[in-house]
């Protein structure tokens, strides 16, 4: 797997951000300071094989304020939100929520992610919900592929590769060609507007 960021084993204290831990807590990372580095989270993590830093290391790096390294790690995008770590942690660290918080901080700050497909997916998802109030799988997969594969040959290759599966779904009546929009879509848009207003105040 291509990991674009140089992995580090040196902690440069002059480059650490002491406010980072607070920021992660505010974004939903409950009890992150309680971690005593036992490694239970890493031991049970099903996706650790594809991570550059283990969940235990990510938590420690949050403690140390290694914001740039954490936000440019592959690990935060590899996490599948399975909640195994959070369930097993003897210190009550909400590790899965920390991973989500790290994704959201990375997107909010417009960081260059180790996996560019991550932010594309989440943004496409919320845009579709804002437009229809419900998910529309066809638009999600087409828009995602279009944005996640900027090179035209790759785009076409992906679409061609997925076409037979799409066709199979379509013939079974499982790929509607129009969204099932909710009636009161204005209500959903008002929620998004209020969220944006609150975000703007911060």
């Amino acid at each position: 797997m291509a990991v674009s960021v140089q992995k580090t084993d040196v902690v440069r204290l002059d480059q650490c951000d002491p406010n980072f831990i607070r920021e992660v807590e505010e974004a939903g990372g409950v009890n992150v300071q309680a971690c005593y580095q036992c490694g239970t989270c890493t031991g049970g993590c099903p996706t650790v094989f594809a991570m550059d830093y283990t969940p235990r290391q990510i938590i420690r790096m949050v403690h140390l304020g290694m914001k740039d390294e954490v936000l440019s790690s592959m690990s935060i995008w590899v996490c599948s939100s399975c909640y195994t770590c959070q369930t097993r942690c003897p210190r009550g660290v909400h590790i899965t929520d920390v991973m989500s918080a790290l994704k959201s901080i990375s997107i909010r700050e417009g960081r260059t992610p180790a996996n560019p497909k991550g932010p594309v997916f989440y943004k496409t998802f919320v845009d579709i919900v804002e437009a229809y109030g419900r998910m529309w799988e066809l638009e999600l997969s087409l828009k995602f592929t279009n944005k996640a594969e900027p090179e035209i040959p790759n785009k076409l290759a992906m679409l061609l590769r997925d076409a037979p599966l799409g066709l199979a779904m379509f013939t079974k009546g499982k790929l509607p060609l129009a969204p099932h929009k909710i009636l009161n879509i204005g209500q959903i848009r008002s929620i998004y507007e209020n969220i944006r207003a609150v975000e703007g105040e911060k």
């Binding site: 399975c82 959070q86 369930t87 989440y122 799988e137 008002s190």
Partner: protein, 296 residues
């Protein structure tokens, strides 16, 4: 037994047969599923891009609609269940968070009071209907059918919302046993993550995790894997051919919703249960079940 039915967005597409079989089986089971008017998406993967408050606000509108109906919510998707149950517990316990989210949804005309519970259909079958009542409804026992019960992640973890043990869940095993099926040894995989949430962004990771589960089922001699979530189902069923190619192993494991299995046992036809909509062929299983005698 009456619930506000929250089906989730997949019912219009990839999860079509889950919806068909849920509605058909619910009728036979005596569950009254009342449609929630104008329900919205639970925001499955929304929190990373707008923070957790958007996810909570999307739940809040749905929860308020159920409160207006005076009913607890019943969902069939693990992801919807996780999001809705998390939010419901938070609103029921944390007044200030509830006020904050109510302010975000103030222009919808709905407000959360914090009174409803959120339930997963599997939990309702096992605890509201119960094994004894279920057994009485069985019209043909699944003697000789070997099934791998797959619970997945999000109805078991984290503990605040769990319908069963996170490490050794047996809810689905219990239901399948009541139906007379043989449950194959599957403890290692039943609560393992299938990776569906990273299917688009990290396909290699998702395929590896799902492959392990299907290989586990195959090695255990299962005739089918039984699912309780449309996202797990999509990943295991829809992407199975791709796994076969990537790992150069013949799989061909039917992926069947527990509602389809229950429906067959209650005497519903494969058509009434949408069993031709599953991507990996379910024909062998259906044929076997249809050869079983009805009890008198």
């Amino acid at each position: 037994m009456k619930y506000a039915y929250y089906p989730g967005c997949t019912i219009f597409g990839s999860g079509l047969e889950y919806q068909i079989s849920t509605l058909a089986a619910a009728k036979e089971l005596g569950l009254e599923l009342v449609d929630m008017p104008d329900w919205n998406c639970c925001g499955a993967s929304s929190s990373p891009s707008h923070g957790h408050d958007l996810t909570l606000a999307l739940q809040a509108r749905n929860i308020a609609i159920a409160e207006e109906m005076g009913l607890d919510i019943l969902t069939i998707c693990n992801e919807c269940y996780n999001n809705l149950a998390h939010a419901a517990i938070l609103f029921n316990e944390n007044q200030s968070k509830k006020d904050e989210i109510n302010s975000l949804i103030r222009d919808t005309g709905h407000q959360v009071k914090g009174t409803v519970k959120v339930r997963h259909l599997l939990d309702v079958v096992l605890h509201d209907i119960g094994p004894e009542a279920l057994e009485k409804l069985v019209r043909r026992r699944l003697t000789g059918l070997r099934l791998a019960p797959y619970h997945g992640c999000l109805a078991l973890r984290p503990p605040e919302i769990a319908i069963d043990s996170a490490e050794n869940p047996t809810s689905m095993n219990q239901v399948l046993e009541v139906l007379g099926a043989e449950v194959v040894p599957f403890d290692k995989f039943t609560a393992a993550c299938c990776g569906s949430s990273v299917l688009l962004t990290q396909e290699d990771v998702a395929l590896r995790l799902s492959y392990n589960i299907l290989k586990g089922a195959k090695d255990a001699g299962a005739d089918a894997v039984v699912t309780m979530c449309p996202l797990c189902h999509l990943n295991l069923d829809f992407k199975q051919k791709r796994m076969q190619k990537k790992f150069e192993t013949e799989l061909g494991v039917p992926i069947i919703y527990f509602t389809q299995i229950i429906g067959l046992v209650l005497g519903l036809s494969s058509k009434e249960l949408g069993l031709s909509k599953n991507l990996t062929s379910t024909k062998k299983v259906v044929k076997f079940v249809e050869s079983l005698p009805f009890s008198t």
